[in-house]
Symmetry: C2
Subunit: 316 residues, 2 copies
């Protein structure tokens, strides 16, 4: 019988609803709505937001206003604004906008990488090297995160060997990534595989390990977060109302729902800095903008427990 493990005292929820969420749905949210979302998330205590993706507007018209949103996010004191960049061109836009962090996704599944990124994983590693050179030449402090996706398997290729996931993570670090992450892109992870892979990734990357990204496709997102949390991982991607997620499983749940994750963390005594009633109010507002789109999550239906106390209130 194991002893009770300790959870970290604080954790960060990186809001990815504006990127991973909105890119996966039909509705194109006007820029003014997105600004309202960012402002309300900030007011609710969220301090890391992925505001968009620097991909060509013809590919993802939903995210065409990323530069504008980044500029707005930079006006909010203490907000750490990140963007996704698919390549050097995107990175140049992120550097021009002085993003705090840019995330370059890599897919450890070769089949998924070729199908989605039209590059082999090692070509993405090489691109990260070029992005690093551009960042260093720019004088910007923008951090470079290399995100290893399909880390727990892939709908196209099936199994993705752990050795390959770790090899690519090391390659990203060697090529100049400041931070590395793991993503369960298609919802294949379970708490056991999370414990095993994250433990090895933490050994490899140490303090440069940045974030865990889980999808709730099969209902395990929060259990997976719990497993990673016990290893000391203290930053997780999540999407308000769980929007977005895996396009390969129609009807499936999307990303980890930010509000459910914040509830789990706060209830377990892990301070997120988030005011849950405000986040729930924002969830209702955003869900109202996305009528007809699939939204997810449980907390918004049941509400907070009576006498609920946030982690910070109990620590006093």
């Amino acid at each position: 019988m194991s002893l009770t493990t300790t959870l970290p005292p604080r954790a960060v929820i990186r809001e990815v609803g504006l990127r991973d969420g909105l890119q996966s749905i039909q509705t194109v949210l006007p820029t003014a709505r997105k600004v309202e979302w960012i402002n309300a998330a900030y007011a609710a205590g969220q301090r890391e937001i992925e505001v968009g993706s620097f991909v060509p507007a013809r590919l993802l018209p939903q995210l065409a206003d990323t530069a504008e949103l980044l500029a707005h996010a930079k006006t909010l004191p203490g907000l750490f604004a990140s963007v996704l960049v698919p390549n050097l061109r995107g990175a140049e836009a992120a550097l021009a906008g002085d993003a705090d962090l840019m995330l370059l996704p890599l897919s450890a599944s070769h089949a998924h990488s070729l199908a989605n990124l039209r590059k082999t994983p090692d070509e993405v590693v090489a691109e990260l090297g070029r992005i690093r050179a551009a960042r260093d030449a720019s004088g910007r402090k923008t951090l470079i995160e290399g995100g290893v996706g399909t880390a727990f398997g892939c709908t196209l290729q099936g199994e993705v060997p752990t050795t390959e996931v770790l090899r690519l993570m090391q390659a990203l670090l060697d090529a100049g990534a400041d931070r590395v992450s793991l993503a369960d892109t298609v919802g294949y992870a379970d708490p056991g595989s999370v414990s095993r892979l994250f433990e090895q990734a933490l050994k490899l990357a140490g303090d440069r390990f940045w974030c865990g990204h889980f999808h709730d496709t099969r209902g395990l997102a929060l259990a997976n977060v719990h497993a990673a949390l016990q290893l000391g991982v203290h930053r997780f991607d999540a999407s308000l109302a769980g929007i977005g997620g895996c396009p390969h499983a129609p009807g499936a749940s999307g990303n980890t729902a930010s509000e459910d994750l914040a509830f789990m963390l706060e209830a377990a005594g892990v301070d997120t800095g988030i005011e849950l009633p405000q986040l729930l109010a924002l969830r209702e507002r955003v869900a109202g903008w996305l009528v007809g789109e699939a939204t997810h999550g449980a907390l918004h239906r049941a509400g907070l427990p009576q006498h609920f106390q946030a982690a910070a209130a109990r620590a006093v």
Copy 2:
């Protein structure tokens, strides 16, 4: 940073859909359907089923056929059939039907206990003593489980002190309970509180600790199971399609969904003996009988991952 914890090699999912599930919904399932459910669950590998509750039929007409179902369950080799009993009279029926186990629920919240059971918790403890005497006099081997509910708080009373939960668990054991359990009746538990309370309960009850019962009211059921699992707990209540659960939170999710729990366990290498494709097929059949009722769970929408291997297949 903690080391990866180990999970038990095997765990049991006690199916409570026929009791906790059906008692909470409007549809009255005909006995023939319930028999079909029990048979198919058995064929899918489930070996512990709570077939009903020996409460007066005028209170719960949905469960009026409990004696008949118990008799049927006893004909299936190796099936461990349990029933809920609210009092000595119910226990006499369970003994008459030669149940393998009878569960007497106790609510650690005094307010909840008075409102739902019309007894104080200590009056329930006394009733368990009378049930023990009846069991011993009967010569039956029927195990007596004392289940401590509202163990993580209560919608009526708010906080329920851990000291009171543990005092009542000890009192149940002292009064003659063979087994004790913990239930998060209203969905207030989180992985942190589960770790803390279950660790103390295991210290107190040792091998007589039997089962964890979680509701997915706020989306944390599987994360809570994961926390308990890490302490060596290896039996959990769950309800097919997540039916049932907390009547105090309208629209909220119900019990832990059996199929999602089985998936999490099997994916994490914990052998449940359950054939997931068969359980998913049964879920579809049962959901078809319950049109108009709220069902829950994620796995049935996304399906099993490609190349999914059950725990037993991988252990070979």
